[in-house]
Amino acid sequence: MLLRNPFAKALWDFRRSLIGWALAIGGVSLLYTSYYPSVSQPSMVEALRNYPEGLKKAFNMQDVASPAGYLGSSVFGLLVPVLLAVFLIVAGSRAVAGDEESGVLDLVLAHPVSRTRLLLSRLAALIVVVLVVAAVVFLLILSVAGQAKVSSIGAGRLAAASAQLAAFGICMLALTLAVGAATGRRSAAVGAGTVVAVLGYFANNLAPQVHGLAWAQRLSPFYYYLHGQPLVNGLQPVDCLVLLGAAAVFTGLGLASFRRRDVAV
């Protein structure tokens, strides 16, 4: 039965948005992967070569001619993580703060459910959601890899990039959920998630080009997600651990505050 405990219940409640977002994010990756044959035409490559270097770096387009370069910049570098972040900011802010603001949380917490169990159950359910989305992205790209002429990347490296994507998603999710749990305010959670996503994106892509700001890149979740180029080099365990470690720290801090404070009516 899917209504057995807070984890199963949360998963059940997320089913609609999971299906919608998995299809949307998977669809976008499928679409952009299928574009590769036309982007890799010599004329297109020539045109891109003349773009200013800074601009190319800003959008992860240094090497769009190779399959890994193209997928790394267009699919894994921009569209998919941004869509995933938007989804997780929405879902993560709802998971505790949204329910609290709407008043739904009260009744559940008046049952024999500790706040720790509630928060971790919902986090776990959303982690499952992230893994499903990453798996969908992986499978859909793999399914058209031959036609799209990107099969030289290999299933293993594609899986590595998807895994790094999942780690990135879990980090963003934990941040949003934790801020929501600590404050009880959905707006705060959405704000924190959005600021980190947007600043993180630009810090990763632009900061290295600004003198004295290079350190900022190291604060960006995008950096740990992308800089090791998993599509070329395979899984980067240290980067994944940094992302997941940050997620654990966010969760711990959010939980500590959630356990201490009053639940709003």
């Binding site: 057995r4 219940k9 739904v104 459910v113 009053d262 009516v265």
Partner: protein, 310 residues
């Protein structure tokens, strides 16, 4: 101590300015609340809106934490034994808010599972009693029907302690009767009922005792029986022959005497004996004494001893 279901000592709760005004605008904290609810009794917790009733209840459930003072529920500390404690409690919130997309059965199944399961037959029997459609989606239900769901989920696992925040709001008179019957059954079952209200009539039918809270302190605790004895009631006596008002006006406890021909109406405060004895000198055709209006007593407490408006 052991036979107290709810016990608080000098319980205080102060809200930060932002929180205190965020939702109701009138919600107030507690200022040294001493509460003692005996195991097995029905306790009516009365007070005007903003007196601190919901604040008290939310502390008992560990949804909020007291600023100072002690609180024990069923002999345990809600803060440290919250999960074990809440297993033994049924709670009906003042605003019963749940996700409207699920059906009544889905919600009740989930809540029952959180409590370790409730026999299906028990839920079905309660639903039938309240004429509640278990297959309906919650957002399609009227306010009254939603309240029924709230009552069912609070009672379904037959908890030792029922904490009900304004339980009859939204229920029509017939269902209020059903609800009151369930409260009586719960008491007969040895369960303790702690129910809040801002109207006396809601609790006077079932409560053993009422505690009246105002501005975060308990103003008085009374047995409902005692209140009834002391309460002002309207009396109507129909005589065979005309009587004079003067004969009755000076009787102890009698006031507002009005006579129209053979019909006398008055207000009676306290015992009925002098009035009855005096009336017995005449031929009495009928005598009507209304159920005492405890509301009036209650309003006096609301306003405080000096009579100033709350």
């Amino acid at each position: 101590m052991a036979d107290l279901a709810v016990h608080t000592e000098q319980l205080t709760k102060t809200y930060g300015r932002r929180r205190g005004l965020s939702t109701s605008g009138r919600r107030r904290g507690l200022a040294g609340l001493d509460l003692a609810v005996a195991t097995g009794e029905v306790y009516g917790y009365l007070g005007p809106n903003g007196a601190g009733k919901t604040t008290t209840i939310r502390i008992l459930l560990d949804l909020i934490r007291p600023s100072s003072g002690r609180v024990e529920v069923l002999g345990r500390d809600p803060r440290h034994d919250g999960v074990a404690l809440r297993r033994r409690i049924g709670y009906l919130p003042g605003d019963f808010i749940v996700d409207g997309r699920q059906t009544v059965t889905e919600l009740l199944t989930y809540l029952a599972n959180l409590r370790g399961g409730v026999p299906r037959a028990r839920v079905a029997a309660l639903a039938e009693r309240f004429d509640l459609d278990l297959t309906a989606r919650i957002h399609s239900l009227s306010k009254g029907n939603k309240q029924k769901v709230g009552v069912v989920q609070a009672f379904m696992h037959q908890p030792e302690l029922l904490i009900l925040d304004e339980p009859t709001s939204g229920l029509d008179p017939l269902l209020q009767q059903t609800f009151l019957a369930m409260v009586r059954e719960a008491r007969a079952n040895g369960q303790t009922v702690f129910m809040s209200s801002h109207v006396m009539s809601e609790v006077q039918a079932t409560a053993d005792r009422v505690g009246i809270v105002r501005d975060g302190v308990l103003v008085t605790v009374e047995r409902v029986e005692d209140l009834r004895e002391r309460a002002v009631r309207r009396v109507e006596i129909h005589f065979a022959a005309p009587v004079t008002a003067d004969e009755f006006a000076d009787l102890p406890g009698v006031s507002a005497v009005e006579v129209t021909g053979t019909l006398l109406t008055c207000r009676l405060d306290g015992r009925a004996d002098p009035l009855v004895k005096t009336a017995a000198r005449h031929t009495v055709i009928s005598l009507l004494s209304e159920e005492p209006d405890l509301e009036e007593l209650f309003v006096t407490y609301y306003r405080g001893a000096d009579g100033a408006a709350a």
